[in-house]
């Protein structure tokens, strides 16, 4: 398929590579198994494997494993992608207190660090998809259009996002791999802004996870509250979002706010949730009294 871009001086032809992704029943089954399993360090590899298989369903396979045979992903991540995102990184580190992205990522030599470095590369590829692919192909004058089961792609990305914050970032922290750690934090932030712009509730929820990881407690609570407020009482995730925000208030011993919140919750929630809300209310008063004693 070819698109002509109007240009007063010259007609430029941009070739568009159409990538159609199809989530099979097997992919969905694996997704559900990962989702409901006991999450561990290995779950991140399971997420990568599922993403890779899913992205390879296209006529032009675009999974990490296939693409890394065609373009130097290492180079694209450490140079091209970083140059592309760098101005945004400067803005965000100044305004949202994100850590500064690295100017370069050192060559890793130990087996353990190489393994973590490679996991970071795959995480960056999967969460910025299809940006890295576009950057790689645009050099050849091509564009990329992704169609098909994009909702499924977003769901795997969301799960991958959680696994990265649960397991990869702590490992990068322990290994003092600050360059990879700061880079992936930045990519996670951009992912929430770009991929979830049409779902502000989940966007705020993912941001809360990121701010929690960064130890920015106030932003963590604000994003959890936003995620809750943007969820209708009719939705399945309403009470879980409510409990997440309430837990954050209790962590900070903000008992008066927590009491006010559960009182409001009683008025807005559906009948089916009242039993759980009663438990949350009792727990609020119990823990507040225990603290007062």
């Amino acid at each position: 398929m070819k698109y002509r871009v109007p240009n007063p001086k010259k007609q430029i032809i941009i070739k568009i590579m159409e990538i159609k992704l199809k989530a099979t029943e097997k992919h969905k089954k694996i997704y559900r198994e990962i989702l409901t399993s006991d999450w561990s360090q290995n779950t991140i590899v399971d997420c990568f494997s599922l993403t890779n298989d899913f992205l390879n369903t296209s006529k032009y396979p675009v999974g990490y494993s296939k693409i890394s045979n065609h373009i130097n992903i290492e180079q694209f991540i450490s140079q091209e992608l970083f140059s592309y995102l760098s101005p945004l990184s400067q803005f965000m580190s100044a305004n949202i207190f994100l850590p500064k992205s690295p100017t370069r990522i050192p060559k890793r030599r130990s087996k353990n660090k190489i393994e973590k470095h490679n996991l970071t590369n795959e995480a960056i590829y999967d969460l910025s998809f299809p940006l890295l692919l576009s950057l790689g192909l645009l050099d050849k004058g091509e564009g990329v259009k992704i169609i098909g089961d994009l909702g499924f792609l977003r769901d795997i990305q969301s799960l991958t996002f959680i696994m990265i914050t649960e397991y990869l970032i702590p490992q990068l922290h322990i290994g003092k791999m600050n360059e990879e750690k700061n880079y992936i934090i930045f990519v996670l932030f951009v992912h929430t802004l770009v991929t979830w712009h049409d779902n502000p509730s989940h966007q705020n929820y993912l941001l809360s996870i990121l701010f929690d990881e960064l130890g920015i407690k106030e932003s963590y609570r604000i994003c959890l509250y936003n995620a809750f407020k943007l969820t209708s009482p009719e939705e399945h995730d309403y009470l879980t979002k409510a409990q997440s925000y309430w837990s954050a208030l209790m962590d900070e011993k903000l008992y008066e706010e927590a009491k006010h919140f559960v009182t409001t919750l009683t008025r807005t929630a559906n009948q089916e949730h009242l039993e759980e809300i009663k438990e949350i209310t009792e727990l609020t008063f119990q823990l507040a009294w225990k603290k007062a004693d």
Partner: protein, 59 residues
Amino acid sequence: MSSTIGGEDEHHDLSTKDDLEKNLRAEARKLMKQKSKRNKLLKKANEISRTKSKKADHH
């Protein structure tokens, strides 16, 4: 629009099982002092619920 996740495999049909999230939330309430473990349970409950939500556009 609820999700059709699960198909005929009853064990993996998440669409009608709010009990999964309810149990995860209950477990999380027991772990109020263990923020990391508690939040992991809530994140899982949230992801399961979210895929059933009206906003979900897949499966």
